[in-house]
């Protein structure tokens, strides 16, 4: 999947590592200044917007892509990952719907967080038994802080 796309500017190799094959279709990209770019694909012209802040942020046709500098796609957190039971962002614990020792089904609502006036439900990624609670209602929690532990064993 990984290949290197090279950008030619005045005969000088500029280069960019990208996460997927860019194929052999040529694109012309003309910087227009202030983050605007003319993208010419054959005869078709479109306007794109981009800024680089570590990663490159690109806006094209209503979609936004964050292209990592390293060329690696961002790590995707799988549903099975224990981090699913951590706070995803700074938030307030609104309510706790389970108690230690309680068996829970997959997708059972465990904890309701609130951030920026929106409720964020924390659900069980798999069936299991709640072994301990590490937060209380009203508490302000930070990203990555463990909220509770579940034993996924039988």
């Amino acid at each position: 999947m990984t290949s290197t796309t090279r950008a030619w500017i005045h005969g000088r190799l500029f280069g960019a590592c990208v996460s997927e094959s860019a194929g052999d279709r040529p694109f012309d990209v003309v910087p227009l200044g202030q983050g605007r770019f003319q993208l010419i694909d054959g005869g078709r012209r479109r306007t794109a917007f981009a800024v680089v802040a570590g990663d490159a942020w690109v806006f094209l046709d209503g979609r936004v892509f964050v292209v990592p500098t390293s060329g690696q796609t961002t790590r995707r957190v799988s549903a099975d990952d224990a981090t699913a039971l951590m706070a995803p962002m700074p938030a307030t614990v609104v309510s706790i719907h389970v108690a230690p020792g309680q068996r829970v089904d997959r997708d059972a609502l465990l904890i309701t967080l609130e951030a920026m006036k929106m409720e964020l439900p924390i659900k069980a990624p798999r069936a299991g038994r709640v072994t301990s609670l590490a937060c209380h209602a009203g508490e302000l929690v930070q990203p990555g802080v463990r909220l509770l532990e579940i034993d996924y064993g039988t």
């Binding site: 990209v29 910087p31 806006f59 979609r63 892509f65 500098t69 920026m116 929106m118």
Partner: protein, 501 residues
């Protein structure tokens, strides 16, 4: 008319009110927290008063801080916007006590209509239908099942003290009800510490249709037609439009009259909204009073675009004692308007986003209006609501308005934090949205398929733009070009003409 008006709010609605004041020759006073020291509303107003630290509880939710700011700045009136203290009767009465005009209904009306139970009784007495339901005095399983049978299946069982959809269970027959009752009771106790249950008829796939009302201090109450707000996620509206695709002149007349009757019965003043659930289509559709919002709504611009009037100006004129300049018969609708709310949230996970707006360019095109509270360089914090901007498209027909909204969203670049624009673009093209076949469960049912369309990675054209952006970014530390490349002799700002990838 007032000489100076304080806006007890922030973000796009504060900006909206400041602009109305400027048009009307009224001096505007913004209030700001530490996080909003250089926010758009703070910099745009004629005066600005700091009211506290970043936490909303110590700033925008502090009645004493707001009253002090109004006194010290010499304001004569207070506009509460929406959210924060807009439906808090204590702010309304504190304004009156301080000799300030509160731009909204009287404190006792806010209190009355803020109680769902009292509002429901007022609506029923005014002739507006309500969803049949009750809190059985006897809370035994048998009594609740009997109440459900009397109300008629299907039913919804929910915590009497609840909200936010927690503990709500559907019941489809008396025989299978006990499991639903037990589960709802358990969740009610866990979430609210009270297991009392409420039973109501389940409206399976309703539309959310609300009516804008205006009431002056001279006895005139009128409605400014409906807004359909069925596209919502977890009770947060995403897209609103007017007219509703199922509305007929007869149904509009009936629902509008019901909304006016509710407002009149409540002793309402200023701008408000009467919300209904709508079941079925056309003249035979059934509607049920849901609640009344005693403030200006987020989605008020769609009404303004189609009715051709300024609701904020109307609010200020009503509060200053002027009579409404229109009669019901003089109000007309022209064309169609659609509002898309642009939120700082991940379009797939819906998690709120915080960070700087590295690039933010609002589109400008015929029939498109943007109400926003941010600008390029603004920092979005976790302290407040994630609404960045409202994109409102008007057209002679719904299809023209839809296409304009779509074209405008595709030309609305926001970089630095993720927004829901990609999701809005997919939503506006969904066949059910195109057909106007909407109900409040739309995003519950279609949300996953919309998200799936957004999960694809960057295409080669996007990678080409990313490469060009790196090549033209002056700061090497920003992670531009890459290893094995020598660009020491090249100044991209002067020599770059085109990038071929």
């Amino acid at each position: 008319m007032f000489k100076r008006l304080l806006i007890a709010n922030r973000g796009e609605i504060a900006v909206r009110v400041i602009r109305a004041c400027r048009e009307m020759g009224i001096e505007s006073v913004a209030v700001y927290s530490d996080a909003d020291r250089m926010s758009l509303h703070t910099t745009l107003a004629d005066r600005a008063v700091r009211i506290g630290p970043s936490s909303a509880a110590e700033s925008y939710l502090s009645i004493s801080a707001i009253i002090d700011a109004a006194r010290s700045s010499g304001a004569q009136a207070v506009h509460p916007g929406y959210g924060f203290l807009s439906e808090n009767q204590d702010l309304a009465s504190a304004c009156v006590d301080a000799g300030l005009a509160f731009i909204g209904p009287p404190a006792d009306v806010i209190s009355t209509m803020g109680s769902k139970i009292v509002a429901r009784r007022i609506a029923r007495e005014a002739g507006a239908p309500v969803v049949p339901g009750e809190t059985p005095v006897d809370q035994s399983d048998q009594a609740i099942a009997a109440a459900a049978t009397a109300i008629g299946f299907p039913v919804l069982i929910k915590p009497s003290e609840g909200g936010g959809g927690i503990g709500m269970k559907e019941g489809h027959a008396a025989a299978t009800l006990s499991a639903a009752i037990a589960q709802a009771r358990r969740e009610a106790i866990a979430a609210f510490g009270d297991g009392t249950l409420y039973v109501e008829r389940l409206i399976a796939a309703p539309r959310h249709v609300e009516f804008q009302v205006l009431a002056d201090h001279h006895g005139q109450v009128l409605h400014v037609f409906e807004r359909e707000c069925s596209i919502q996620r977890r009770h947060q509206k995403v897209i609103e439009e007017t007219p509703s695709t199922v509305m007929t002149p007869q149904l509009r007349a009936r629902m509008g009259a019901a909304a006016v009757a509710v407002a009149r019965a409540a002793g309402y003043r200023n701008a408000g909204t009467v919300e209904f659930l709508l079941e079925g289509t056309g003249d035979s559709a059934r509607y049920y009073f849901l609640e009344m919002n005693t403030r200006l709504q987020v989605e008020h611009p769609v009404t303004e675009q189609v009715a051709g009037l300024d609701l904020v100006r109307a609010q200020i004129r009503i509060a200053s004692g002027e009579p409404l300049p229109w009669t019901q018969d003089a109000l007309t609708q022209r064309g169609h308007a659609i509002e898309a709310r642009v939120y700082a949230e991940d379009p797939i996970s819906h998690l709120p986003q915080a960070g700087p707006l590295l690039l933010y360019r609002e589109p400008s095109m015929p029939g498109v209006r943007i109400d926003s509270g941010v600008a390029e360089g603004s920092k979005i914090t976790v302290h407040y609501d994630p609404l960045l901007a409202k994109l409102v498209a008007w057209g002679e027909t719904r299809e023209i308005a839809r296409r304009r909204a779509l074209a405008a969203l595709r030309a609305f670049p926001i970089l630095g934090i993720k927004t829901n624009i990609p999701m809005l673009v997919e939503l506006l093209q969904h066949p059910r949205f195109v057909d106007g076949a909407l109900d409040t469960r739309f995003l519950d049912v279609e949300g996953a398929s919309l998200a799936a369309r957004l999960s694809t990675g960057p295409t080669p054209d996007v990678l080409a733009v990313a490469a060009a952006a790196r090549a033209t970014t002056a700061t090497p530390a920003a992670g531009g070009a890459s290893r094995d490349i020598d660009h020491s002799s090249l100044d991209p700002w002067t020599s770059l003409r085109g990038v071929r990838v």
